[in-house]
């Protein structure tokens, strides 16, 4: 058991460092979508809810399974959908709609 804890701790610490490394390179332009995207990633707790469902064998267990299911699903689905909605709005300069007359007139 203690070996499992050790390897999990190692994974945890290294992931923290990877997170710091990756996140610090993200420009402030994208901080809101990034936060929302990170938010969606912690929706992985839905995997925890699945484990909870398989262990449940009492009324308390079922109630907790239900709560975990509702919360985690809201987190993961909502998180990815809203992040995608935000990011699809970031249009490239060439992709701008409605051609304006003499855009490069200057």
């Amino acid at each position: 058991m203690i070996e499992t804890l050790y390897s999990n701790l190692a994974i945890f610490i290294l992931s923290l460092l990877v997170g710091v490394e990756v996140i610090s390179k993200i420009p402030s332009t994208l901080h809101t979508p990034m936060m929302s995207g990170a938010n969606a990633i912690h929706g992985v707790v839905v995997a925890g809810a699945i484990v909870t469902a398989s262990l449940a064998n009492s009324p308390t267990g079922y109630v907790l399974t239900f709560l975990a299911g509702v919360f985690a699903a809201a987190n993961v689905f909502g998180g990815y959908v809203v992040t995608d909605r935000m990011l699809q709005m970031f249009t490239r300069p060439t992709a701008t709609t409605k051609p304006t007359p003499s855009k490069d007139a200057s």
């Binding site: 995207g37 938010n39 987190n75 935000m86 709609t97």
Partner: protein, 473 residues
């Protein structure tokens, strides 16, 4: 570890790699959307693997599975509807709600794991410690995020809410939560003790956020995002699931970095923000009044501004909180488009904390179809100000206060946009009221600055009309 467990572990690592790659691709607007989809792909892999794994290893019973399916369907429907409907100005609230449910789910998972153990003899410390930590952090996050979302939405008053003894009650809640948590680690599993941890943590979460001012709420949302990440990682320790540990740690890091950057950009320490609610510092906005000499102000009309903009070659727009609050992103984009069509070079100078959360202004402008190559980050913008004819400041204040370069005031040392380096400055603002930092801004009384007193939305629309008349006349 059996071969089967090994394979599951390897697949979890692969999905974690997809999370990292997805986040990594958020470095540039052109790849960010694909990055999010890759991260979603990692999520699908992790979830499918977990389903197969538990079906084969533990199995469970049909009640548990049906309850989960129904719950997940309800949650998914709620999440998707909210995500589709939310206004871009309300993103901070929604992020806070998703934080709350993430933390709540993590707490529920840990609690359920404890319940599943409870008929048996003592839970090992390697499992019970993360369980208690998860219930504690998850509940604080849940309650705190709900309150923060309420404050951002305006359901709960934005001003710091305190009552006599609030601080003592908060300390008491913390002591009870930690005390019961420590007791729960020893002896046979005691559900009642864990329930005490849960309730005390919920109370603590509420009391922690209630006294925090509305303007500080986004920092708290970011901090609670880090907490949710930690709670999810703890759930991973409790049920020995590496996907949860890795994803949780990534989010914990993301939330922490953003919190620190945000606090730095607002020139406050995280500690001051969290503790500020305990009765210090948070009243400074009210304290600063316009005692400055108002005779130096040059007031402009919409026509003045229109002519000045139409004659300029390089214009930098500095959008601030006032623009986000007035939801004037479409109006500003329309004005910029008109000027660009007229041959003016228009760009946006965006401060890292402009809007209601870091990077929020970029999302608002993107919504108004502003291409991202027109949005300059603080360093690029500051290089451009020296060559700029007109800096058009819309509803921004502290983020372009030149006093930040001088020591000894509330904004000293804060990174600012050098709007004062432009040849002339136009400020659209409702009044001379000081901004969040509560101090006056010498930029407004600078001889090269003209003030146009108006609501951001109406003012921009008036200028646009005036420019149109001027250009076509």
């Amino acid at each position: 570890m059996s071969i089967f467990e090994f394979v599951v572990g390897v697949i979890y690592l692969a999905s974690a790699a997809l999370f990292v790659v997805g986040l990594h691709m958020m470095r540039a607007p052109s790849t960010a959307r694909r990055g999010n989809l890759i991260s979603a792909g990692g999520m699908i892999v992790a979830v499918l693997t977990t389903i197969v794994f538990v079906l084969i290893s533990t199995g469970g019973n049909w009640i548990g599975w049906s309850v989960l399916v129904v719950g997940a369907a309800v949650g998914a429907a709620f999440g998707i509807v909210q995500a589709r409907r939310v206004k871009m100005t309300a993103i901070p609230q929604l992020v806070s709600i998703f934080n709350a449910v993430g933390g709540g789910a993590a707490a529920a998972v840990a609690f359920a794991d404890f319940v599943a153990h409870s008929p048996r003899t003592p839970v090992e410390l390697t499992v019970s410690i993360p369980i208690v930590l998860d219930v504690l952090i998850g509940s604080v996050t849940f309650a705190g995020s709900v309150i923060a979302a309420g404050k951002l939405q305006g359901i709960i008053p934005g001003k710091p809410l305190t009552f006599p003894g609030a601080r003592a009650l908060n300390v008491l809640a913390a002591v009870v939560a930690v005390g019961a948590g420590v007791l729960a680690l020893f002896g046979p599993p005691n559900l009642l003790l864990l329930l005490v941890v849960l309730v005390a943590s919920l109370v603590f979460g509420v009391l922690m956020v209630l006294p925090i001012g509305g303007a500080d709420a986004p920092v708290i949302v970011s901090l609670l995002n880090a907490f949710t990440g930690l709670a999810v990682a703890m759930a991973g320790f409790a049920i020995n699931n590496q996907a949860l540990i890795i994803a949780g740690a990534l989010v914990g890091a993301a939330g922490t970095i953003l919190t620190l950057q945000m606090a730095k950009a607002m020139n406050r320490s995280v500690g001051a923000i969290v503790l500020g609610g305990f009765g210090t510092g948070d009243t400074q906005t009210a304290a600063g009044s316009d005692t400055e000499d108002l005779t130096n102000i040059r007031e402009l009309t919409a026509d003045d501004v229109a002519i000045q903009l139409a004659y300029a070659q390089h214009v930098l727009i500095v959008p601030g909180y006032g623009l986000a609050a007035a939801q004037a992103q479409h109006e500003v984009a329309e004005l910029a488009k008109l000027l660009i069509a007229h041959g003016v070079d228009v760009k946006y100078a965006i401060h890292p904390v402009a809007g209601r959360m870091p990077g929020h202004m970029n999302v608002l402008l993107a919504e108004a179809n502003v291409p991202y190559d027109q949005m300059l980050q603080i360093d690029e913008a500051n290089a451009a100000f020296d060559n700029c004819d007109v800096a058009l400041v819309v509803g921004a204040n502290d983020v372009c206060n030149p006093d930040a370069r001088k020591p000894g005031n509330a904004v000293s040392g804060m990174p600012i946009l050098n709007a004062d380096h432009a040849k002339s400055v136009v400020v659209i603002k409702r009044s001379m009221r000081p901004g969040y930092a509560g101090i006056s801004n010498p930029l407004f009384t600078d001889p090269k600055t003209g003030m146009f007193f108006a609501d951001a939305k109406q003012g921009l629309a008036d200028i646009t009309t005036a420019v149109k008349e001027y250009v076509t006349a």
